[in-house]
Subunit: 454 residues, 2 copies
């Protein structure tokens, strides 16, 4: 009898694991169970579907259950995992269509159940047109409502809210974003969050409001139970046609209670570098696992589609008997607000202080190409280094110029703890259409080096 | 009496040295001598001025002699250095306007005389409308002639020829590029040079010819001594309105004969990491110096505007009593042919073999963004690694997609000799408008890792 691999979860990490495992091991039996009816989709693409730069939601689906069946991977949709019994190697599944429950035996289990929205404690959450965005169906619902609306309220100032803000502004809505913290995008330093806020407000004057230090306490509705007002703790009342809760997510791991699989930070699943859990025959991948931060050397929980894909690939190699280590992450994130890129790698200056580093920083605002070229864009970079070790701790980059090229340049330097001295004259390729003769990221490194080393 | 710093050369490195030195040391006397009448210009921008995407050549000039005078830096134009006497610390200058000669004493000398075109041995080089491109005046002359012409011939298949090809094609000329080697862009592997050639030919069918393995032996002219024909060793005769010799450059160091300043590869000036020459009180910066290649650990000569700027800055810091080391280069280069990026960092697979490495490579062709996003571009990357050390030796990248972001990501990895194992799951920031969930450069690293480590 072939070895039986059971995968729970159908977002990014589960299907990636299945597909890679099939390529590595044609002989094993692979069954994937998911509570949703759509699998293998890019949740990160949903804001662009809602914005309507992607017209059809099916474009976001990489592979259907039929595609998997052709690879001899059996996908079971609308099947929710209720329980894992690690002693006797089975999972209990709830068939959401027939309402039956049944057990499935495994030799190797892969948990890839992702994350689910964190719902804040607000009165009248039962009202209609209060959405969260996680699944394709969520995206379809929000887009449908947006197309009939004039006003929207976004709760929470994270990346998803910024992306939805673009979508709604592009579709001519008036939008209010409400953030309970002192600034949006909490992983950024306050000065950068303010620059981002200024850009967003300034791009479409009068169309966008961003409220910070403001907590929503109540929704109010009309006679049809549709949300019409959002009330904050300072007494502000915002009229709206719908609300999206972008107030964070948490690992989807409640069903592991009693399984003896060890959980870590935020109830994410503790995995080692091979993506194995505390149980030898159970792996976990994607948004439901914890992450090791290679800058702080501490465990954290940062759900990211790219990490999910890499972990899925890596776990599959290990399950197949190969060797792949997933060392950790750098909290690398990027998004855009129209033509304005927003990105951070590693940690902010504020976080560097919190983690006990002795940070120094440099901020540069530069053009992305030789100044005499047409169509240059500007960018602002904030580079953070540690005075003790003379190495980089992080970089924040924003602007209409080519930010991502500079941001990416810093990543292997953080990973390899490259000394500032080696970075300041780094041989980045130069040509007027691509950069100034001395690249902005080198300007930043030179300034920080001089600050630290005089 | 203040210390007297004399700088010879007015392209990029000399003016950069002067400006940085003035910021570091308000007290010293700085005199800059150049044989040209324009200083502090971007030679790298000249092809775009010729193409007419930059309308006015003055845009390429960063600072005028008057600008420098305001900083108390004395610029002497049309003053050619004939000789350096390192025993008695003076240079002999030829005033090209008055034809006088005179000596100038220095405490510290900085040589920044750059490079000059290498003129191949071809019959009838005296004919009119045979150009080289080095100075602003060269650019003005070529542009003027191009605007009256229908046909051009470019000799040599390096970056400048590719850039001029774009300029001429953009201005509707028919262009023949003649390369004596088996393929253009000799630092690239042949397969990549062929892909680039195919792109160039395919973009404007019938408008561009690229001849390889073809050596020009003779020019022919009309009764006005204007070039009209280019004759090759295989007997090809190409009719043309003008010719540009893009057949390389050599260090402009002939005037150092008898100075006892040590020369290195290709007669470039030997400098240490502080940019000091073999004479304690003489520095050299920019295209006239040799370079240490950090991949091969051998000396080389690669004149680049970015290196010139960094060396100028670094030398100024050292002259001012500070501390700056210029460790070396990675042969990093980038250019474009219209929307098609062409870039190489480190060494090619062919060169890796020549230098005694045990190279392995991976080639990937991928889209630059999530496949479902509008306006994705494709790119092809060739990553080269060393089997012995499991580290990266180089990367070649081409395509209409965002190549430079991927190329730059590899640079600190080469510098820091980061192991492939650390690279394959590197946390590059992901968002659908910026990259696929697993970035193409990681795909390449994963393939090469599997090839080497099974």
């Amino acid at each position: 009898m072939p070895e039986k691999i059971v995968i729970i979860g159908g977002g990014a990490a589960g299907p990636k694991t299945a597909a890679k495992l099939r390529r590595e091991r044609p002989d094993v039996q692979i069954d994937l169970y998911t509570q949703e009816d759509i699998i293998s989709y890019s949740a990160c693409g949903l804001p662009y579907y809602i914005e309507d730069v992607i017209k059809n939601h099916e474009t976001l689906i990489l592979r259907t259950p039929d595609d998997f069946e052709k690879q001899n991977i059996h996908v079971h949709t609308k099947q929710k995992c209720l329980k894992v019994n690690t002693e006797e190697q089975f999972v209990t599944i709830h068939d959401l269509t027939s309402n039956n429950k049944y057990d499935v035996h495994y030799n190797i289990l892969v948990i890839a159940t992702g994350a689910k929205p964190l719902i804040p404690d607000i009165d009248n959450l039962h009202l209609k047109n209060i959405f969260t965005l996680r699944t394709v169906q969520d995206g379809i619902n929000i887009k449908q409502k947006m197309l009939q609306s004039k006003r929207a309220v976004l709760l929470g100032g994270g990346y998803i809210s910024i992306e939805l803000l673009e979508a709604f502004v592009h579709n001519n809505l008036h939008v209010t974003l409400i953030e309970k913290n002192p600034h949006i995008l909490k992983m950024f330093d306050e000065d950068f969050a303010e620059r981002i806020t200024d850009y967003i407000i300034g791009r479409n004057p009068g169309q966008v409001s961003i409220l910070t230090n403001e907590r929503v306490i109540r929704f109010e509705g009309n006679e049809n139970n549709e949300v019409t007002k959002v009330v904050t703790d300072s007494g502000k009342v915002i009229e709206t046609d719908f609300v999206v809760l972008g107030t964070g997510v948490r690992p989807n791991t409640d069903f592991l209670e009693g399984s003896n699989i060890k959980l870590g930070i935020n109830n994410s699943i503790k995995v080692d570098k091979t993506l194995r859990t505390s149980k030898y025959d159970v792996y976990a991948v994607g948004d439901c696992t914890d992450n090791f931060n290679l800058v702080t050397n501490k465990y954290t929980w940062v759900p990211m589609g790219s990490t999910a894909n890499k972990e899925g690939r890596c776990a599959a190699i290990n399950i197949a008997g190969g060797h792949c280590l997933f060392d950790g992450i750098l909290n690398s994130t990027i998004t855009k607000y129209f033509d304005f890129t927003i990105s951070i790698i590693g940690i902010s200056y504020a976080d560097a202080l919190k983690f006990g580093f002795q940070p120094e920083y440099a901020i540069v605002t530069k053009r992305d190409k030789a100044g005499y070229m047409p169509e240059t864009g500007t960018m602002t970079l904030k580079l953070i280094a540690d005075k003790n070790s003379n190495t980089i701790l992080g970089i924040q980059g924003i602007g209409e110029g080519e930010v991502n090229q500079r941001i990416n340049t810093i990543i292997p330097a953080i990973l390899s703890k490259t000394k500032l001295e080696s970075l300041i004259n780094m041989d980045l390729p130069y040509s007027p259409p691509y950069s100034p003769a001395i690249d902005p990221v080198l300007n930043a490194a030179q300034i920080i080096y001089q600050k630290i080393n005089g």
